[in-house]
């Protein structure tokens, strides 16, 4: 039995690069985080910031070529997944660490009944007869709240709605009681009402099964709803790593502040939302300095010359910004700037 607070996953200086004819794209460029038992870690950022590549890297599902884990370690209970032989890695996938994907519509095999797809996962990792696995699959469908699970188990994915397919994906992911669940934008493709149900379901099952959950999302609402800690990613780096409470109460990195400021607020009447000017630098040609500097209104000379490290603050938040270093001479940002 594992203890609470036990570290399940420890990612150290992970680098995932894509070698294409345009050059090397450093999609994930040196990120660190840990995930503990029972914890929900949010990874947020806009499209292309490397959050999905991070999650796929953990299960070593990066399409290779062109993708490659170029450096770093992914320690699962102390074992480095990066160097694990393929057959050992297969035993981890779906069993110790499982994953839910963004697109429930296309993530299930269209010609295999859903019950069988779940049973396949069970039989891969547990010694069970076909019949037992099929019964377990029905139980899993029941667990994720699918009505008349016996009937549904025999149906093909096209006979199920998007919300139901995502429930099937969750049932499949949880069928072997994984220690870690990676949810890659699990609700992005779903209706708002279904989104809430699915998040609620993941939370409830996490509480019951005690998994560590990595919630990959671009939706700060989802983060507020589900996560204990959050890592904000920008252009392949983590720029702020904080508890959810701190992130929303006292965002530090100018990018995080921009993200929060660009959310519509229910108690304000505004015609235009705040936008972060400029665009993300090309992954093929990253600037030497801070990657956000070109869009940052506080940027100084130092920001363009040297890349900042993650600097730990008194409240435990880590932030990758020169403003929070001792040598910073420029103006400190105030709340008003973003309002």
């Amino acid at each position: 039995m594992t203890e609470l607070n036990e570290i399940l996953l420890e990612v150290k200086d992970l680098k995932t690069h894509f070698h294409t004819k345009h050059g090397v794209s450093k999609a994930v460029d040196g990120i660190d985080f840990t995930l503990r038992k029972g914890e929900t870690l949010g990874i947020v950022g806009e499209s292309g910031c490397g959050k999905s590549i991070t999650s796929l890297s953990i299960l070593r599902l990066i399409p290779s070529p062109p993708g490659k884990i170029a450096g770093g370690q992914i320690l699962y209970k102390g074992r480095d997944l990066v160097t694990l032989p393929d057959n050992e890695m297969r035993k981890i996938r779906g069993n110790d660490i499982s994953m839910i994907f963004q697109e429930p519509m296309t993530s299930l095999n269209p010609v295999i009944p859903v019950g069988e797809q779940i049973a396949e996962a069970i039989r891969l990792h547990q010694k069970m007869s076909k019949k037992e696995a099929r019964l377990k699959a029905v139980d899993m469908l029941k667990l994720v709240g699918i009505p008349s699970p016996e009937k549904r188990a025999k149906q093909e994915p096209f006979q199920l709605s998007g919300g139901m397919r995502q429930r099937v994906m969750i049932a499949m992911a949880l069928s072997c009681n994984p220690e870690v669940l990676i949810a890659d934008e699990p609700t992005t493709a779903l209706d708002v009402t279904i989104q809430a149900q699915i998040l609620e379901l993941i939370k409830e099952l996490q509480a019951r099964l005690g998994m560590g959950v990595m919630m990959i999302t671009h939706d700060l609402g989802v983060v507020a709803e589900t996560c204990d800690t959050v890592a904000v990613m920008y252009a392949g780096n983590i720029v702020e790593h904080a508890s959810t409470q701190n992130l929303f109460d006292d965002p530090k990195h100018p990018y995080t502040r921009g993200l929060l400021a660009s959310l519509p607020k229910i108690d304000e009447d505004r015609d235009e939302l705040y936008t972060i000017e400029g665009s993300v630098p090309s992954a093929y040609n990253m600037p030497v300095g801070c990657r956000f500097a070109s869009r940052c209104e506080f940027a100084q000379a130092v920001c363009l010359e040297k890349k900042p490290d993650l600097i730990e603050q008194s409240d435990g938040t880590k932030v990758r910004c020169w403003m929070y270093s001792d040598e910073w001479a420029g103006a400190k940002p105030t709340e008003e700037v973003f309002n």
Partner: protein, 306 residues
């Protein structure tokens, strides 16, 4: 599924009528008067006229058509003008030979084509892939009459492994079946390869990998079944092309099948034989299409009959 098969069966009825109309009209368009031909040189006008009445050629077209269809349903495809044998009897002797040739060729098409396609797709852009795809390109480009003659020259004349021509033993079947199946195999190989490569990129393959499924199982269980859906259609169409191909191959290898019978009958202006042969070949094609649709539906339950 049963409903699907029933509905699909009902749908073939108008198709079959369409076939009879087309076959009938084509023969009307063929130049030359069968009555003149049958009466022979130097026949009197009266003899020709009498023959015309006997053959029903004096009636208006629609009446001739109705006669024609009614007779078909009675199992009467007419009488050969050449040897006065019932056309149906002649066809029934030759059809099994052609079907055997076509089925064995299709088998070669499917097995060889899919195997080559899968081998290529598993290691795309590798040396094996390149070799297989060059062979496939050759298979598509070489005309079957030339390919057949080359096989005959190589394996029968030079190496003397297989008999030159005829249809008596399994050894006789090999070269014609391969000649006929090679082009299809090449098309199926290319189709299977591209379909597999397409499927392997799909999200559900990633899901299978995330479950910990072995790469072999991913290829054969998760990918192949999905990849086969477009391939089945191609195989069905190939079978139709194959029936056409038998005409050439049967002529080259002197096989007494349906295709050669049609060619010979055209040369003899044996109208009822041509009509009967083409009709039966068309019906076989319709039946094969029906089977392909049912198979297609079996592999892909999302297909709804519209």
């Amino acid at each position: 599924m049963l409903m699907f098969i029933l509905r699909r069966l009902v749908q073939t009825i108008p198709v079959i009528f369409g076939v009879t109309i087309v076959v009938f009209i084509i023969m009307q368009l063929v130049p030359g008067d069968p009555a003149v031909l049958l009466a022979g040189e130097g026949a009197t006008k009266e003899t020709i006229e009498a023959l015309r009445v006997q053959l029903g050629l004096h009636q208006p077209l629609y009446a001739q058509y109705i006669d024609y269809v009614t007779n078909i349903f009675r199992g009467d495809l007419g009488t050969s003008l050449k040897n006065n044998q019932p056309v149906l009897d002649e066809i029934l002797i030759r059809l099994p030979i052609t079907l055997e040739l076509a089925i064995i060729s299709t088998f070669i098409t499917v097995v060889l084509g899919m195997a080559a396609g899968i081998i290529s797709a598993v290691k795309p852009y590798s040396i094996i892939d390149t070799v297989v795809m060059i062979l496939a390109l050759l298979g598509i480009s070489l005309p079957s009459f030339w390919f057949g003659l080359m096989l005959m020259y190589g394996f029968s004349v030079k190496l003397q492994i297989f008999p030159v021509a005829g249809w008596d033993s399994m050894a006789h079947i090999v070269l014609p079946a391969f000649t006929l199946g090679a082009g299809g195999a090449a098309i199926v190989a290319r189709m299977t390869r591209s379909s597999m490569l397409e499927v392997i990129r799909q999200d559900y393959i990633r899901t299978a990998r995330a479950k910990g499924v072995k790469e072999r199982v991913i290829i054969y269980k998760h990918a192949l079944r999905n990849a086969l859906i477009p391939v089945i259609t191609v195989v069905g169409l190939q079978f139709g092309a194959l029936l056409g191909g038998t005409v050439l191959v049967e002529s080259i290898f002197a096989i007494n099948g349906l295709g050669r019978m049609i060619v010979d009958s055209i040369r003899m202006r044996d109208l009822p034989m041509v009509q009967g042969g083409v009709l039966v070949a068309s019906l076989v094609f319709v039946v094969v299409n029906l089977l392909v649709d049912i198979l297609y539906r079996f592999f892909n339950k999302r297909i709804e009959l519209n």
